[in-house]
Symmetry: C2
Subunit: 316 residues, 2 copies
């Protein structure tokens, strides 16, 4: 029996921590990852392989990957911006690599100073590198479509542009493409349409994951649309770490705790123990006392008597 | 052409204000209602007809109804707990009356000291009263199923219990039943199932409205489930007024601003001007400086260039 119906990928140690100024000590990061894996979270993006002068918060990613890889059954993921990052990630031993490609070329140029052509070329080089590895020791390689739902500089992003970049990433040899709502612009209808359009181009099985932010409060509504569109992996971050400074109460990524509660209450298996997951907040709070943690369910508590008498009436 | 595809019913002046200690002055309430109606909100629940010793915040409801009824095109609603309340509501001139019936009998006894039988009898008396009015001057009468998704005292509520109460309310002569997630326990799957079950019992056209809270962050996800289930009226409150004290960041009712933005961005017509709606917050803030207002979109702002280039790609 599978451990889960829907896979939760915890991205807090990467996306959450890179969005805040405070640097979390390595030991706290290790404790956090250990605790979340013990709660049943199947995949954790532990960091990104970028130069320390750009993101000092991520400097200890190699050590963290080494630690995470000792945890049995945990899929260890990391983000890489380029070939150099991928080389380091592979050296460290990650199981999954993601390269973000901003569908807004303006954003791509501003963010990593690279055109689309240059990014696709970079992805192809990473594929070539992976192919030099023994077949049973190759990391999974995902191309992540950033700003897919709109860009804070360019504004709306046309659907065919996203579809085109998705096709080019698959053409470069990525194992899969993932959709990223970097700007919190996604709405359920847009999401449904975009997933359908990309699937039509690159095939159903090559679009399975969503990376959502909660900037406009629509995160979990978008998850529902994603489930309906056949998405099976959702990124989320514990406590929604790295919230939007302009929107008090708005988490950064969608909150892992609320997401897991929603799925669990809908009778969808995540393999995650809710109480153990909520307890992970204490580790993050202790290490980052000045950062706000978001999430409704850990504070309001589970419904009285949950799950007895609830799950049944919520399943199909 | 209809003003809207989906009807928004603003319940802040009733559900929001009754949940906080501070009493909003009548003039501020009037200004709020006037501004929201001018923004295009088609229905506002302006208060409830309960004894002032129980809810002093609602004492000026008759004056507020009188004011609201001068606004052209606005449907003026009020909540009544019993026949006496209905008599006063009708005297004041409301267009719509709702009676809340808690499906958890424990909650009903604790809240209004009445059994289910007594509440159904009360509803029947209100129907009889309405029938004494000239046919062209009868308020719409809704039976509202409170604690339909679970109760903080009883825990889970069985589906057949909700269906039974819905049937009894319709049997007593209500024009319609509405579903209320008083406790913030609803999840999308449960909601879909429950709406289907009640519709099967009392007929599609007799279940059109949902009253949702955001206690566990699932409010807008539940709206998506509601839309899929054919719900056409959603209650919401400006700024999510009356939040859950246990959950900082959790609004009380779902936030009108976020709800309207989500629908608008999905290409669903609400008849509401977003900027004018957001501006209503200033009136509430000025009158209730110590109360927290919730809502993501008014703070994070609309997507760059919105709605140009967005709505099209989000519609069917």
């Amino acid at each position: 029996m599978a451990r889960y119906d829907i896979e939760i990928s915890e991205v807090g140690p990467r996306d959450g921590l890179q969005s805040i100024q405070t640097i979390m000590p390595l030991d706290a990061k290790k404790a956090w990852i250990t605790a979340e894996a013990a709660a049943g979270v199947p995949e954790i993006e532990v960091g990104s392989f970028v130069p320390a002068r750009i993101l000092p918060q991520m400097e200890d990613t190699p050590a963290l990957v080494a630690h995470a890889c000792t945890i049995e059954g945990l899929q260890v993921a990391a983000l890489v911006p380029n070939l150099r990052g991928a080389e380091n990630a592979i050296k460290a031993g990650v199981h999954k690599i993601s390269i973000p490609l901003s569908v807004s070329e303006t954003h791509s140029l501003k963010n990593v100073n690279r055109t689309h052509d240059q990014m696709i070329e970079e992805a192809a080089k990473i594929v070539a590198l992976i192919k030099t590895l023994p077949e049973d020791n190759r990391p999974f390689f995902e191309g992540s479509l950033s700003t897919a739902f709109g860009c804070t500089i360019e504004g709306p992003i046309a659907e065919d542009k996203v579809v085109d970049i998705a096709a080019r990433l698959m053409g470069a040899g990525c194992d899969e493409v993932g959709l990223s709502d970097t700007t919190g612009y996604a709405t359920p209808k847009h999401l449904t349409n975009l997933v359908k359009a990309i699937k039509a181009e690159v095939g159903d099985k090559n679009v399975t994951s969503l990376h959502l932010h909660n900037t406009r409060g629509m995160g979990l509504a978008n998850v529902i649309a994603g489930l309906d569109a056949g998405i099976t992996t959702f990124d989320a971050s514990l406590g929604g770490l790295g919230g939007c400074p302009a929107a008090p109460g708005a988490s950064g990524n969608i909150v892992t705790e609320d997401l897991v509660y929603m799925l669990d209450a809908m009778g969808i298996k995540t393999g995650i123990d809710l109480e153990k997951l909520f307890a992970c907040r204490d580790i993050v709070k202790a290490a980052l006392p000045d950062e706000e943690l978001y999430g409704f369910t850990p504070l309001s508590g589970l419904p009285k008597g949950y799950p007895n008498g609830y799950r049944a009436q919520r399943a199909d």
